[in-house]
């Protein structure tokens, strides 16, 4: 649900769109990931693993903005999925967010790819 916050302004909504590509459950993230919206993404990953999807791809290509809270969610999701025998792929061909992953060195820690692995 995308409920507006009722104050008449366009809220910092996070759009999550779920699909399946090959073996991966894909979450495409639009909007802004920050301290306010990140819990929604964290919960979506948890929900998928609770339903048995252990191969998860988070697609940040349509993401407008991501801050360190969002990066924290990616690291946490990677760890939880790996502990459960699964894996997280971060899909990102968005230069702004690629730059953030490079700056923080997380491009070395996370499995960052241009597209969801389809084989």
């Amino acid at each position: 649900m995308r409920g507006s916050s009722g104050d008449g302004t366009s809220g910092p909504e996070l759009g999550l769109s779920l699909s399946t590509v090959g073996e991966y459950a894909v979450i495409a993230v639009s909007g802004e990931i920050d301290m306010y919206t990140a819990p929604k993404l964290r919960e979506a990953v948890r929900q998928l693993s609770a339903e048995g999807s252990m191969l998860v791809a988070i697609d940040l290509t349509p993401t407008e903005f991501c801050d360190s809270t969002g990066l924290g969610v990616l690291i946490g999701a990677r760890r939880r999925l790996a502990d459960a025998g699964g894996a997280l792929v971060v899909v990102c061909s968005n230069p702004r967010i690629r730059k953030l992953l490079d700056l923080t060195g997380l491009d070395k820690v996370l499995d960052v790819q241009e597209a969801v692995p389809s084989e």
């Binding site: 801050d67 990066l71 924290g72 969610v73």
Partner: protein
């Protein structure tokens, strides 16, 4: 009102404060980018200003949560030779005040999450904010905390025709 700033006059200033809740970080980011844009910060740097101010505000909120205080986070932008952003939290150095018990968090701020994973991600985020700020912002100074005050994150970006920090 004249929207054009005269760089030779006293620095134009925008100052505000917000309750340390995650919902307000976006507002701070948007104001930062808007004020920076009006000040003349080049378009290529506006994303950096927006990201950096957001990170500094996130860090301030996490510090207030950690200290269990609901004081306002303060922001000041000033436009002089450079565009300067200062984000100040009020989380004092607790080790300097062993006898002062932390005040309970008031209902307006975000309560600290109880969930273990969330807490772990938060302490991770606090570290990442500084890593991001350090690699993103050329002119970054973090002062404090001490027994009296919290920390201030000061950052600045060049303005057309302004002095570089090395000339001071």
């Amino acid at each position: 009102m004249n929207a054009k700033y005269d760089h030779r006059a006293e620095p134009a200033t925008v100052r505000f404060a917000f309750t340390p809740a995650a919902a307000y970080v976006r507002a701070a980011r948007l104001v930062a980018a808007d004020v920076a844009s009006h000040a003349g910060v080049t378009t290529g740097l506006l994303d950096e200003v927006r990201q950096a101010v957001g990170e500094a505000c996130t860090r301030a909120i996490l510090r207030h949560r950690e200290a269990k205080i609901d004081d306002l986070v303060r922001i000041e932008f000033s436009i002089g030779d450079r565009f300067v952003a200062k984000i100040t939290d009020n989380a004092r150095d607790m080790r300097a005040q062993p006898t002062a018990p932390p005040a309970p968090a008031a209902p307006h701020g975000d309560a600290r999450p109880n969930d273990h994973d969330t807490r772990e991600e938060e302490s991770l985020s606090e570290e990442i904010t500084l890593i991001v700020l350090d690699s993103l912002v050329e002119d970054l100074v973090v002062t404090g905390p001490d027994g009296e005050k919290g920390t201030t994150v000061s950052m600045s970006w060049p303005l057309p025709g302004g002095a570089s920090p090395a000339e001071h």
